[in-house]
Symmetry: C2
């Protein structure tokens, strides 16, 4: 569903639960989730610009924290670059400018004579600075990043969190002395995606080296992370681009190597779009009752619902606070829902919709028995546990996240299928699967077969596995010429 339609539907905000099943109508399910769990708001009514509300913003902040920690561990340092790029910078690399010019927002009144673009991506900000900051091999590698907004006038249907005209992400721009080091960085970035997006957020992916005709404008090659949506379509998550020496040559960014000779830098760029990954988190883990957030990134990990009446209110709230204090001391994100004007059942419903991993219910009876009722969101299990057992929550949280990840992994495994003719590919694609085939070439010469895949089979050649060298076992399934690659074909968002 497009952003416009969603906006129309959300004019009247609804308090009821999710009214469709995720498996039956994923698109409508997603639309209802982002509205009813109060994640985003589209009523500003400017195409592609979304307001992200606290529950999503808090989750996104937690996601940034994991990602930035991992990037810093791997030697990246933060920067703040301007949100604008002077036109002369943007025009320097010819493929880049061709690719991005149609998408650029320009500023009307720049205050001086410089033409300024809102940045669609920041290669043309970082590379000229590399030229100034890097003099010798001793200054290398230089690994920088920024978190912030970029702006692209996307003409395709915009969708909240998934595809916008402004989106928030991290951009890493790294400079190296050799091709080998730059290529190793591409693999390190795949590893970062694995460590954070898969291991922590629980979203599996296939790192795909894109075919020549589908790379980033200005890159030597691009590796995109393909994730499955529940309807079997693919969505591109973090991608890494080996820029090689294209940008360093365009900006004449050199360094003195160990032999004191001037060489051009080798650069890479890595871009995880955190709000978009949140869309994958929601889509991957949620169920018919709403979101299910991984314990590691949920703004509230344990919600306590005290069950009280006018008489015993103080006593029960007091006990709830004791529990909350104890959990907080163990660095657990906990909150008590004390609202008097909502019934416990309504509260259960709200926090299930928002995907909080654990709920503790505590009333008169529980206090008497020194126990609480613990509800686990993903498996919807309700059990009595002794107060002393609450110290296990962190462990249960890890198990929670493992369960989510394993379930997602299994979903993905079931979606991969080897195909040996067009009919098999077509069948695979229409049942939401990814077809693995022998293919003639991912260089320019393969483009004809890719067009056949697109026109006849309504699929995209997503590329070859970037972290594994898969050898073809026969001829190209499309043209029957000798195959040089094993490619994956899917339908995409």
């Amino acid at each position: 569903m497009t952003e416009k339609k969603i906006k129309e539907k959300t004019q009247e905000k609804s308090q009821e639960g999710i009214t469709v099943k995720k498996e039956e109508n994923f698109s409508e399910w997603f639309t209802q989730i982002i509205e009813k769990a109060e994640l985003v708001d589209l009523r500003l009514d400017v195409k592609g610009f979304t307001i992200i509300r606290p529950w999503a913003a808090l989750t996104i902040e937690n996601m940034f924290e994991h990602l930035e920690k991992e990037l810093q561990k791997k030697g990246h340092k933060p920067t703040f670059m301007p949100s604008i790029i002077p036109k002369e910078n943007l025009m320097k690399e010819s493929e880049h400018v061709q690719g991005f010019t149609p998408e650029v927002f320009w500023i009307k009144n720049t205050g001086d004579n410089k033409e300024l673009a809102l940045r669609p991506t920041s290669e043309t900000l970082y590379t000229p600075m590399f030229k100034l900051w890097i003099r010798s091999h001793r200054d290398l590698p230089l690994k920088l990043y920024q978190r912030g907004s970029v702006f692209r006038m996307d003409t395709k249907a915009t969708r909240p969190l998934i595809r916008g005209r402004e989106f928030i992400w991290i951009e890493c721009h790294d400079a190296f002395a050799t091709r080998e080091e730059a290529e190793a960085q591409v693999q390190e970035d795949i590893d970062t995606t694995e460590k954070v997006m898969h291991q922590i957020y629980g979203v599996p992916f296939l790192p795909m080296k894109r075919p020549e005709w589908d790379k980033f404008a200005g890159a030597e090659y691009t590796v995109g992370s393909d994730c499955f949506m529940p309807d079997g379509k693919l969505i591109q998550q973090p991608s890494t681009h080996l820029m090689g020496q294209k940008f360093s040559k365009a900006f004449d960014a050199t360094f003195k190597n160990k032999e004191e000779k001037e060489e051009h830098l080798w650069t890479t760029a890595y871009g995880p779009a955190v709000s978009r990954i949140l869309a994958s988190v929601i889509a991957t883990h949620g169920d018919d009752s709403g979101m299910i957030l991984p314990y590691s990134i949920s703004p509230i990990q344990v919600i306590i619902i005290p069950i009280f009446n006018a008489e015993n209110k103080n006593k029960i709230i007091k006990k709830a606070k004791e529990i909350s204090d104890k959990l907080e001391k163990e660095n657990i994100k906990v909150e008590i829902d004390e609202r008097e004007y909502k019934r416990p059942g309504e509260k259960y419903h709200i926090w299930e919709l928002k995907g909080v991993p654990f709920r503790i219910e505590i009333g008169e009876k529980e206090i008497k028995n020194n126990e609480v009722i613990l509800f686990t969101r993903d498996i919807k299990k309700k059990e009595k546990i002794k107060l002393t057992e609450l110290k296990n929550i962190q462990k249960l949280g890890k198990e929670f996240d493992n369960r989510l990840r394993k379930k997602a992994d299994k979903f993905m495994e079931n979606r991969l299928v080897s195909c040996f003719n067009k009919k098999e590919i077509k069948e695979a694609l229409s049942s939401g699967k990814l077809a693995k085939i022998n293919f003639c070439s991912t260089d320019k010469s393969g483009i004809k077969c890719a067009e056949i895949v697109e026109k006849e089979l309504y699929g995209d050649v997503r590329g070859t596995l970037a972290n594994k060298n898969e050898k073809p076992t026969g001829n190209c399934v499309i043209c029957n010429k000798p195959a040089t690659k094993v490619v994956y074909i899917g339908r995409s968002y």
Copy 2:
């Protein structure tokens, strides 16, 4: 010194130390610091848009962390709002639009028929959303914030970190049911500035309720935090605006009160500009050798310099790593400067320039004696300490920050002076002081006296203390009519 001049000077990057004394030429000192400590870079050459380099970016991230933690503790929740504002929103509140229109950057090609401004501030984004999100007194208070960029086409001289056309800050936008609650929020914001900017970053301030003629465009009143620069001039740091019902009326944002009657919301806005506060941190604490960063926000709290030759290198690096591991376990931010191509003396110099609070020197002799040399940046004290004493670093860090804050407090105290005639005011202002005087009025009727202060004495009426009710003791020092206020007069950035 303006940004343009600084840029010219920094074309040739210099590696030498600071060549001027802070007391003798603060402006040049500041310029050299931000260049030589590698804080910002102006060579992108677009007026008012600055590149913030890793050392400053890491410090700013630490500053954000303290500030956001305090705001969240006080019930604020994060959001991400679009970087743009539709023209129709911006035009709704008449004083606001008059104040901001000349400063707005407009987008040339918006992709549809909507005219879009880059946001100069976000009242006109939050208030229409308050209208949609808040229905009843039960939804109040609603306290939101965002961290991000805003854009203002400032025509005054731009200065790196201090005054730019894009700056990064936090904006809090809060909604309440009553004037009393909104006014209490203004005081809470002053308290947040005290807790974070003064207690943690060590920068003292005076909360000034600005005169009627100097308030934020669209506010009922404004409280600015005035901080001293070393040359005695004032710089405005976080300000809070009581919007009252001006914006809620412009957007017709109402709620149902306890009696089920519709009322307009009361709103406030609070805006700490973190990059600008960094300028105050640098200016307040630095000395003739460079920056001095508070322990609480320094990206590196302890730098270890191993003193080695080819023979004993491995042994000494190993010991340095042991020390580093031990400190890291206590959550101390520590780094070893292992570079072989720099002499220890150069390293001392670099890290002093960057303002790292503690330096540990360790060589052959120190290992033998189970000790290290500890250098403390602010007091420049070098002392031998036993390895076992390193566990005191966190405590020493707190003492370090207390010393910085007390020194800054003393500087400020010495700058306040009561004046009883124009001559005294003029003398106070020319010696970089803040004059406290009896004044006729801070309403519109006082504007004539304010103009005299400006034209004859070259000073600004900064306002009245916002957290203390000071009663005048005589007539207005300017016009000799009965005084209603005690105001402070200073010169400003």
